[in-house]
């Protein structure tokens, strides 16, 4: 078990997705990319982001990045550290976070919601491996 956004987290995440998630069944063979911007990351109130790219349901790229320079992606979701934490701790679903404006979305809501389900699968996988957060 590792810490959210740490190097290991990325590695675990990658492997987990590759091993546990079936591109067809779980990921519906979707091809898309998602940039998650995480604001107010403790302790130093910094901004971080993770970029995730799926090709035909296979994980193509998954990386974490610190600072305000971001990568282009089909969908950009933005929210504070707390909401990501809630999502990864299973307190709130991604869709719900969107509809409650806890996560702000750049890009079509309709399209985004179409990939919510597979994303949920991914989130769950990350949920299982993430246990440590900045307080």
């Amino acid at each position: 078990m590792v810490k959210f956004l740490s190097e290991e987290w990325i590695e675990y995440g990658k492997n987990y997705i590759l091993e546990k998630l079936d591109p067809e069944k779980d990921m519906k063979n979707i091809t898309t990319s998602l940039l998650g911007i995480i604001e107010h990351v403790p302790p130093n109130d910094i901004t971080m982001s993770f970029y995730l790219e799926l090709k035909d349901g296979k994980l193509n790229d998954f990386k974490v990045n610190t600072g305000d320079s971001f990568q282009e992606a089909n969908y950009v979701i933005k929210g504070n550290y707390g909401i990501y934490k809630d999502i990864l701790q299973g307190k709130i679903g991604t869709a719900m976070a969107l509809l409650k404006n806890r996560l702000q979305l750049k890009g079509s809501k309709i399209e985004a919601l179409k990939i919510i389900k597979p994303l949920d699968g991914l989130i769950e996988s990350l949920r299982d491996i993430t246990d440590e957060f900045e307080e």
């Binding site: 604001e39 107010h40 403790p42 109130d45 504070n80 550290y81 707390g82 909401i83 934490k85 809630d86 307190k91 709130i92 679903g93 991604t94 869709a95 719900m96 509809l99 409650k100 404006n101 806890r102 702000q104 079509s108 809501k109 309709i110 919601l113 179409k114 919510i116 389900k117 949920d120």
Partner: protein
Amino acid sequence: MNQNNVLSSDKISLEESVAIAEKGTHCGMCRIDFLGTGLCPSGKKYGYLAYWPQGRMEIIKHLKEDKIKPTEKLIEIANSCSLCGICDKQCNFATQLRPEKVARALKDYVDKLDKSQIQTVEEDDILKGLREIVGKNWATNDPIIIASYIRSIISPNGELNFYIVMPENTEQVSKIIKFANKNNLPFLPRAGGTALSVATPTVLKNGICLEHGIVIDLLRLNKLEIHPESSSATVGAGIASFELQKEAYKHKLRANVAEAGAHYCANIATTGIVTTWGNSYGCFADNFIDLVLVDNDGNIKKHSDMGISNPYTTEHGFTNISLSPSYIITEATAKLFPVFDDEEAVLVPFDNLKDAMDMVIQLGRRGVGLSLAVLSYKYLAEFICPNRKIAKDFEEICKNYIKLRYVVDVICDKNDKKIVEEMAKYSIDQSMMRTLILGSPKLASLKDSEFMKILSEEDDPLKAIFAGPMRKHFEKGLDASPEQLAKVYDKDLQDFFKKVYSKPEMSNVVWLHAFRILPSRLMRQMMTMGPGGAIWAGDKNHILKWIDMFAEVGNKYNLEHALGFISPLDNGKFIYIEYDYFYDHNDPDVANRISKTLLETTEKSLVMGQIFTLINYLFKGLYRKEHVLYPLFKGLTKEEQELFREVLHSVLGEF
């Protein structure tokens, strides 16, 4: 009638008070002075919900079930009640409950406590930070105070890790939001709370309520300025519809407002202002000249700012569902409209919906009437009658004896009145309405009478009673008077209600439409869920199908249900329909069926097409109607329907 002797006894047990409290529905009528009694002194002084009658009723339930432990604040809350009895009068008018008895029980409970049982509450860094923004008195983490917000923003089955903060102005709201973000805490504004209390028993709970974090209670933003010179008003987020209307009326002006207790700004943010006046006063952005709002990053904006990104549009389509406001509206500049000297009410009774609907749409398109709606016998009965029992009998009489199932309800000037009267075979005028209001108990009592049986055998009972020979007998028979009506209230309140009903406005239909104090009766001791939305008025059969659908689903889940009202929008191009399901909010099983009904009717509506459902309405009131309602909604495809279910389930969970 065991409740009655509860009410008459002076001492009251905790159990009995909880029995009262559980019937409470957070209609919020105890927070506005709609009967001229003045306001609950402690609520006015301390602000937090906990110090208002509805708050005390909420608190006592959770003490009883040990969900919360007493704190210092509890003592203050209990003692702050002067037992002045204002709440009993207000609550009785709307719901026939006696909150003061609950307050008294709470005092007894507190008196019995010994100091050791009282927990002390620590101020943590978050609270410190909030207090730096709003001042010591106006931020708290006291569990008792927090508990008073349960069911009207906090879900009943969560922990109470919240903060309540009561900012005074827009700048403070902005600071609070920035502070919340920095500390990674979610936040949600609370105004009247009624929309939240209606959603809480249902599956929407998780979506609508705040799971933890900061409750921003907006009650203190009570700026209210009328500008007669430009017939507009500046309205703070803490101002209720009733208060705005009262000010406007002083200048012979009228605002387009929701139910008396609803806060004007919050109402714009949630559904936009949906009223019977909508056809002439507008909907969505029509209602305001400008808004001041704070976005989710804490930035203060105005709709009139040029630099901001388009504040008048929203994503189109059925998946565009929002479960919380994207802004907090802290101040609105509302449009006001002239009140004419020759305004009157005219009601046209119908025994079937189709004809009533035809008429209201035709009137809407022709711009006849200021307020224009079809009301069902259900609304008529609930609004007019002083208590549930009378309403039930009244309803049955309408339905089964006089076949008064719908009324086209028009408020208009004398010219429009002529027009309506020419279109109608006969109508119910002001004085007859007054008779019905004051005579409703007597009428209800005639339920199984000969008079009614004879009447029902007339080929047109409605005509006979409202325009025909029997009118005289009818009026005489009801002997409608404040005295008569007052009799239905608890002994100790009868004098008061005699005075209340002697006030002309209490039986003045125009006034009642403008100030909207009666809809609260839909929530008396029970809960209402009113799905519906705006439907394109071009195809009347489509509309009737839609309404039938609501009825079918209601039957399927055996719920008490009825059409509420129909009112034209956008020059009669659309009509707004509310269809209501009534249920006991303390019964988890029925609440569950309500949820299913809500989802099923929404899905069916979307499949039907040309319908903008309540679910899509939520939190879009501040946009231009042109961007919300157009292009017309097409019916969902199979695949879209799938998607819709997926979305809802990932939001609301399977059940």
